[in-house]
Amino acid sequence: MPIYSESFAAAFGLLASSDQDLMEILALSINVSLASLVLSCVIGLPIGAFLAMRHFPMRDFLVGVFNAMMGLPPVVVGLLVYLHLSRSGPFGWLGLLYTPQAMVIAQMILITPIIIALSCQVLEDLHEDYKDFFDSLVVPKRTALLAYIIDARYSLMTVILAGFGRAISEVGAVIIVGGNIDHLTRVMTTAIALETSKGELAMALALGFILLAISLAVNFLVQWLKASARRRAYV
């Protein structure tokens, strides 16, 4: 298909000339996704750890809810956030609609359940394996959790990457709450949607390649950090 070569050429052209609009859009994509990821981890990882270590009556129900929420449709989340942040909604006075902050809020709602559900599963598995052993040594829960986190650090890194992947790739929520405003709330995915709607399919695909390249770069960076950490561990 000739569109691939055309798109690759367009993607390289944009990157080689470090097109200013593209750089702005890329920076906003990464900033919004990272901000929502960090906030989601701050909220989600402690909840995941809590659910993994404690047993209480509603615990299984909650885990089920968070597991189900991993499949939240972005467009529904976008709509709900829109309704709340709209000037006629309960938080309209904040004036957040059509700002990057609104996009961060929407993405947080999307990825926090992923962080909670996956980190809970990772830590729960370790807890099952080591619970009796640690109990027999009278290791405090807090110390045990620390041991789990250190042991599962690479799995948890993958959990965080899954959240990042969801954040940087979704379009349904950010296009509603951000509005795809040029130089203000346009990110890679909404730019791709816009180019597609203009019939500029090769340009849309070129932006898709660039987004994919960013995801690859982030993942390879994490792999490299992991590998170098392992090397240090064996020295």
Partner: protein, 268 residues
């Protein structure tokens, strides 16, 4: 460490994102945006008035609803009937004529309904219906969709009864609907500007144009500050005044795509 730097950058980005005071938000139909009109005139608005205009481009129906939720300062759409309702409901004091263009019916080169060059839009639509040729409708409550429904009504065709058969409602914007039409060899109604600026045309071309019933006027309104106290009335009115001024009208007229004028100023 790298992570910390990126996060700091993210936080800084959020801190600076709060809108400056001389910024307004326009709820707009998509055609003006996709054709590139805003990219052309908004730098002039900024230079003349100092106002930064941000544009949210959605269908006319969605734009009106967003404006009714007070999520915009100015409304620029193309559905006369609903604009009048918007004004009548007190959401705007006044509607201003700003410009017009026209709708066209586009279709594949093999022209299964045989309507190429037709001068009578309703006759052409009857032919599409009778030959059961595929027709891609916006189906999204937009200005173009309202227009299309009124044309079917004028042609006395109950197109909705054939929804899913030859009448295909995409429920999407103009661009997506044009992509769909091109993909499945269907006719579609489009404003001339959106079609002109659309890059994925394949072997499609304009089949029907020039009927006076295809007239497509755009109106601009300032959202009323009594309904919506957060509206930036002063800046919004300055923007509207610029659009309907001699200078703004000349700017609209001078916007060309591939040598063709896409919007025709008609402010009073």
């Amino acid at each position: 460490m790298k992570f910390a730097i990126l996060f700091a950058a993210g936080a800084a980005c959020l801190a600076t994102a709060a809108m400056a005071d001389s910024t307004i938000l326009v709820q707009s139909t998509t055609s003006t945006k996709n054709a590139g009109l805003y990219d052309y005139i908004l730098p002039m608005v900024k230079a003349d008035t100092g106002i930064t205009v941000n544009v949210v481009a959605v269908g006319t129906g969605a734009a009106i609803k967003n404006a009714m939720n007070c999520d915009g300062d100015v409304l620029l759409v193309h559905s006369r009937k609903r604009e009048n309702q918007f004004v009548a409901a007190g959401y705007a004091k006044q509607r201003y004529d700003v410009m017009y263009n026209d709708f066209v019916v586009i279709g594949p080169a093999n022209d299964p309904a045989g309507i190429d060059g037709a001068k009578d839009i309703t006759a052409a639509m009857v032919k599409i219906a009778v030959s059961k040729s595929k027709f891609a409708s916006r189906g999204d409550d937009s200005g173009t969709h309202s227009k299309e429904k009124s044309l079917w009504a004028m042609a006395k065709v109950d197109q909705a009864a054939s929804s899913g058969d030859w009448y295909r409602e995409t429920g999407s914007g103009m661009g997506a609907t044009l992509n769909t039409a091109v993909g499945m060899g269907a006719y579609a109604l489009s404003d001339r500007a959106s079609w002109g600026a659309h890059a994925n045309k394949a072997d499609f071309k304009i089949m029907v144009e020039g009927d006076q019933r295809l007239f497509n006027p755009y109106g601009v309104m300032l959202v009323d500050s009594q309904k919506c106290p957060t509206v930036r009335s002063k800046e919004g009115q300055i923007f509207i005044d610029w659009l309907i001024s001699a200078k703004g009208q000349a700017a609209i007229a001078s916007f060309k795509l591939e040598g063709k004028q896409l919007f025709f100023p008609n402010a009073e």
